[in-house]
């Protein structure tokens, strides 16, 4: 179904919004990995997925952003990799309506290559492979996201391709510099797009770090580089803690949705939100997109 959506020129695919920030709103204990809630408080995860589908998301992603082997190791949870990933699918399946899709979410390993860290291609590849094989049976497509080193992205894509023939959205995270958009590791936008296209991904994307206004600029530059379908998930400004320790984001949902409209008009095929966006944001985007048609 995803590939048909990609071919349908009139279809804009609505992705979901933030998961981590929604979980934190419900008061997770500091230092806890949000993904562990798949097992310990699955009703919260399911409730958030449902809220996104209800708000209009065509597809939602599993709560597995931090469930690669290397990242789980940091929380001493690597022995639970199978149950965390498998339960993530169950939690999402429970509320996924007919004709909607389930996306397998793959986030960064949290480890960098030298001179910053010690990670190698082989470590990344095997870490992702361990996660991917548990997600593969239950998902419709992949979203590899928030990666800031193109080598790590390539390792993740190649690990997916080792076990899966399902479509891949490959989404890096960029910062804006005086010389254009780069990852913090120094990979240029052009370099990143060319490298993931060499790996034959289905959709090229950008998410996190940048807000919706900067993403309008990003998509225009992406459009100049590639003819592949594009996916964009911006952050909702910067977080703020109020007196009670509750996180707020300053940008209004209406303002965010207005920018998303610009992003769609500039060529995005898939849109959603990253940190700080909520089902309310997705609902607002849905309204704006419905008006467009």
């Amino acid at each position: 179904m995803f590939k048909e959506w990609l071919k349908d020129d009139s279809k804009i695919i609505l992705f979901d919004g933030g998961m981590g920030t929604e979980i934190f709103k419900r008061g997770i204990k500091p230092g806890k990995l949000p993904d562990i809630l798949n097992l310990e408080q699955s009703e919260i995860v399911t409730e958030i997925h449902k809220a996104y589908y209800d708000a209009g998301s065509d597809m939602c992603q599993t709560n597995t952003f931090g469930s690669s082997y290397m990242n789980l190791q940091k929380y001493k949870l690597e022995n639970r990799i199978k149950e965390i990933n498998e339960r993530a699918i169950e939690n999402l399946k429970e509320v996924c309506p007919p004709n909607h899709l389930i996306v397998g979410d793959i986030g960064p390993s949290g480890e960098y290559k030298p001179p910053i860290g010690k990670a190698t291609y082989e470590q990344w590849y095997s870490s992702y492979l361990k996660q991917i094989k548990y997600l593969e049976p239950g998902i419709d497509l992949w979203h590899i996201e928030t990666i800031s080193d193109i080598e790590e992205m390539v390792a993740a894509i190649q690990a997916v391709k080792e076990v899966s023939k399902k479509p891949i959205i490959s989404s890096m995270t960029y910062k804006k510099t005086k010389r254009g958009f780069f990852t913090i590791m120094g990979n240029s936008l052009k370099d990143c797009i060319e490298k993931v296209e060499n790996e034959n991904v289905d959709v090229v994307g950008g998410n996190c770090t940048l807000g919706s206004k900067e993403m309008i600029e990003l998509i225009k530059e992406m459009k100049n580089i590639t003819n592949n379908p594009l996916s964009i998930k911006p952050n909702a400004g910067k977080p703020r803690l109020n007196q009670g320790g509750i996180t707020h984001y300053d940008q209004s949902e209406q303002d965010f949705a207005k920018d998303i409209l610009q992003i769609v008009k500039s060529g995005a095929k898939i849109v959603g939100g990253c940190c700080g966006t909520s089902p309310k944001t997705i609902k607002e985007i849905k309204t704006v997109l419905d008006d467009l048609v």
Binding site: P30, G31, K74, F182, M185, G186
Partner: protein, 214 residues
């Protein structure tokens, strides 16, 4: 004049991230009995400042920052024993830095620590997941000027506020400047915590601390 060109060579070795050259220059300066304070300030210091500028210009990224910082750190370790008598003159200040309890994110904090150290600060990096009490105790013990507290998560940044509350409660808030770091930190948060500042990246952090030390 000859010395000026030597300082320039050092600075260029740092900017081109040439570790072997930088270290051999440090050794040469010692062997030839040069004014090491000048070597540090006009050679190595100038190099690391240029790296900061290149970061701001979007020419350099994390790998260059980290590599440049490490090279200067290593060179300083060679030079420092010979500077002992003048150590107070080369030390820009003492900084105790850590990622707060409950938070295991280390990259940002480590890069800030490396850059501070490369810029002449005496840095005590306590690592990640460190309690506010431990950070304060170390700062007291080392007679630090600055406490740097990092938090990447909105759930752990509350610990930054807690640290300052403890300082206030103990009546020792004035002993230290407290700066905050981490992706979710904003000026509003600094105000609410009654901290002394925050920085978006390692280069800004060095500038901020230098300003606070003035």
């Amino acid at each position: 004049m000859l010395q000026e060109s030597f300082y320039k060579e050092i600075s260029e070795a740092i900017v081109s991230l040439d570790r072997n050259k930088a270290i051999s220059f440090a050794k040469k300066a010692i062997e030839e009995n040069m004014n090491l304070l000048n070597v540090v300030e006009k050679g190595f210091g100038a190099g690391i400042r240029r790296i900061g500028e290149l970061w701001e210009e979007g020419e350099f990224f994390l790998p260059e920052l980290m590599l440049g910082g490490t090279i200067v750190q290593e060179s300083m370790e060679i030079l420092l024993p010979y500077l002992k008598a003048d150590k107070e003159d080369v030390t820009s200040g003492k900084v105790v830095i850590a990622t707060i309890e409950g938070d295991i994110h280390s990259i940002g904090k480590t890069i800030v620590a490396t850059m501070l150290s490369a810029n002449g600060f005496e840095v005590y990096d306590l690592g990640v997941d460190v309690s506010a009490e431990k950070i304060i105790n170390t700062a007291l013990e080392k007679n630090a000027n600055i406490i740097g507290v990092s938090a990447l998560l909105t759930t752990t940044m509350i610990g930054q506020k807690k640290l300052i509350e403890i300082l206030l409660k103990k009546g020792i808030r004035d002993k230290f400047k407290v700066i905050l770091g981490g992706a979710p930190v904003t000026q509003n948060w600094v105000n609410e915590c009654q901290a002394d500042g925050y920085a978006d990246n390692a280069i800004e952090a060095v500038k901020l601390i230098k300003k606070l030390m003035d």
